[in-house]
C-alpha cells in the first residue's frame, strides 16, 4: 500500500518534470525560430557596416559578404585559424579585399583584426574587431579609445619599406603606447604578415572569380 503511493508520487513528480521540460524546450524553440532571422540580419548588418567602414559601399557592386574565400596558412599568417577574405569587385574587376585575420601575440590573448587592402596593395584601413588588451594601456588599438589604428590607412609594403613595419621602439615608423609596446607590436606584425601573404598569393586572393560570382 505504502509502496504503491510512493511509486505513484514518483510517477507524478516525473510527469510534472517532463511537462516542464517540454514547456521550457517549447519556449526556447519558439523564441529561437522567431528571432533567428533578426539575429542573422543584425549580424549581417553589423558585418556589412564594419566592412563598409573600410571600403565605401560605392566602390563595389557585388555582394561582398557572399563573395568570400577562406585561407589557412599557420606559418605565413601566424595563426592556425582560417582567415576569411571578402572580395570587393566593380563590374567584375577586383577592387579591394577585406580579411579577418588574427594577431596571436597580443598582451592578453589574440587580437582579431579586419584589414582592407585595395588592389594596388595600399591599405584601405584596419580595424580591431575584438581584443582583451588592458583597459587604459593596450586598448588604444581600439578606434573607440584612440585614432592610432588609422595610422595604417594608405600604407603599403613599399610605404614604409619593410624595415619600417615595426613600432618606433623597434626602429620602425609606427607609434607604440606609453606603457604598452606588446599590443601595437603584435598588430603591426599581423598586418605586415598579411600584406606579405597577399603579395605572395595575389593571384589567388584577387582572382577574378567570375564563375563564383554567378553562383553567389
Amino acid at each position: 500500500m505504502a509502496e504503491d503511493s510512493v511509486a505513484r508520487d514518483m510517477g507524478i513528480a516525473a510527469l510534472i518534470l517532463t511537462g516542464f521540460a517540454i514547456a521550457g524546450t517549447g519556449l526556447v524553440a519558439l523564441t529561437y525560430t522567431s528571432t533567428r532571422d533578426s539575429i542573422d540580419a543584425a549580424q549581417r548588418a553589423a558585418l556589412e557596416a564594419s566592412l563598409n567602414a573600410l571600403i565605401p559601399a560605392d566602390r563595389y557592386d557585388n555582394r561582398l559578404i557572399e563573395d568570400r574565400i577562406t585561407v589557412t596558412d599557420p606559418v605565413a599568417l601566424g595563426t592556425p585559424e582560417p582567415v576569411v577574405v571578402y572580395r570587393a569587385r566593380k563590374a567584375g574587376q577586383s577592387v579591394a579585399l577585406l580579411a579577418t585575420t588574427v594577431a596571436p601575440d597580443g598582451y592578453s590573448g589574440p587580437i582579431r583584426l579586419l584589414i582592407g587592402v585595395y588592389a594596388d596593395g595600399t591599405l584601405a584601413g584596419v580595424r580591431v574587431l575584438s581584443h582583451q588588451e588592458t583597459p587604459g594601456l593596450g586598448d588604444g588599438i581600439d578606434l573607440k579609445r584612440s585614432t592610432w589604428i588609422l595610422s595604417f590607412t594608405g600604407k603599403s609594403l613599399d610605404n614604409p619599406e619593410s624595415d619600417g613595419w615595426k613600432v618606433k621602439k623597434d626602429g620602425g615608423i609606427f607609434d607604440q603606447f606609453t606603457g604598452a609596446t606588446i599590443t601595437p607590436r603584435a598588430v603591426v606584425k599581423a598586418i605586415r604578415r598579411f600584406l606579405e601573404y597577399l603579395k605572395a598569393h595575389r593571384d589567388q586572393l584577387f582572382a577574378p572569380a567570375a564563375s563564383k560570382e554567378n553562383a553567389a
Partner: protein, 228 residues
C-alpha cells in the same frame, strides 16, 4: 504570510534586502559588468526581466508543482526564460549583447533568481511575486548602475558613454564628459576597482542605515520622556 504589503516588498527589494548590497548574491556579474553605467544598466534590465518573468511563472505553477521536484522545475523555468531573453537581446541589441557576452547566459546562475523563486514566489500570489521580482531586479540594477557610475566617472571621467548601444542614436547625446582630457584611473576600471567600489557602496548604505536607526532611537526616547 500573504498579507505582506506591496510597500514592504518594494522597500525590501530596493533597500533593506538589496541583492547586490545586502544579500551579496550575483556578485560575479555585478563585479564584472559594472565598469560603466550603460553596461551595468543593460545587465540590470536583463536580470530584472528574468526575475519578473520567473517569479510570475513560479508563482503561477506553485500549486501544480510538488515540493520535492520544485528545484529542478525552477531551474528549467529560469533556464528557458534566460535563453529566451538572450536570444531576444542577440536579435535586437546586438552590440550590447557582444559586450555583455557571457554574462547574459550567466543570469541563469545568478542565485538571486532562484533565491526569489524559492523564498518568495513559491509561497505568494502572482501579483505580489511580480512586484517582488520587479523590486529585486530594480534593486540589483540600482546597485549595478551606482557601481558602474562610480567606476566610469573615476576610471574614464565620463558617464553614460556608449549609451547609443542601449537607447539607439538618441543615446549618443547622453554621454557626459565630466572632466576634459581626463587621463583615466586604471584601478577603477580593472576588477580590483569593482571590489573596492562595492565595498564603498556597502559602507555608504550601512552609514545611512545606522544614521536612520540612531534618529529613530532618539525619537522613541524623546517620545517616552514626553509621555512620562
Amino acid at each position: 504570510m500573504s498579507d505582506i504589503s506591496f510597500a514592504r516588498i518594494l522597500k525590501d527589494g530596493l533597500w533593506t534586502n538589496n541583492t547586490g548590497l545586502v544579500a551579496l548574491l550575483g556578485l560575479c556579474p555585478l563585479l564584472a559588468t559594472s565598469n560603466s553605467v550603460v553596461n551595468g544598466l543593460g545587465l540590470g534590465l536583463a536580470t530584472t526581466l528574468v526575475l519578473l518573468t520567473s517569479n510570475v511563472a513560479v508563482s503561477l505553477i506553485r500549486k501544480l508543482v510538488r515540493p520535492e521536484v520544485r528545484i529542478p522545475v525552477f531551474v528549467m523555468v529560469i533556464a528557458a526564460l534566460v535563453t529566451a531573453v538572450e536570444l531576444a537581446m542577440h536579435a535586437f541589441l546586438l552590440e550590447l549583447y557582444d559586450i555583455l557576452g557571457i554574462f547574459i547566459p550567466l543570469i541563469v546562475t545568478n542565485c538571486c533568481v532562484i533565491g526569489r523563486a524559492e523564498a518568495f514566489a513559491f509561497k505568494n500570489g502572482v501579483l505580489r511575486s511580480a512586484v517582488d521580482g520587479f523590486a529585486t531586479g530594480l534593486g540589483f540594477t540600482l546597485a549595478l548602475v551606482a557601481l558602474g557610475a562610480l567606476r566610469e566617472a573615476l576610471g574614464q571621467g565620463t558617464l553614460f558613454s556608449q549609451a547609443e548601444l542601449l537607447f539607439g542614436e538618441v543615446g549618443r547625446a547622453m554621454t557626459l564628459q565630466l572632466i576634459d582630457n581626463y587621463r583615466g584611473f586604471l584601478l577603477a576600471v580593472l576588477p580590483p576597482g569593482a571590489f573596492i567600489g562595492l565595498g564603498l557602496l556597502i559602507a555608504l548604505k550601512n552609514l545611512f542605515d545606522a544614521r536612520a536607526q540612531r534618529r529613530a532611537a532618539r525619537k522613541s526616547v524623546a517620545l517616552r520622556e514626553i509621555s512620562a
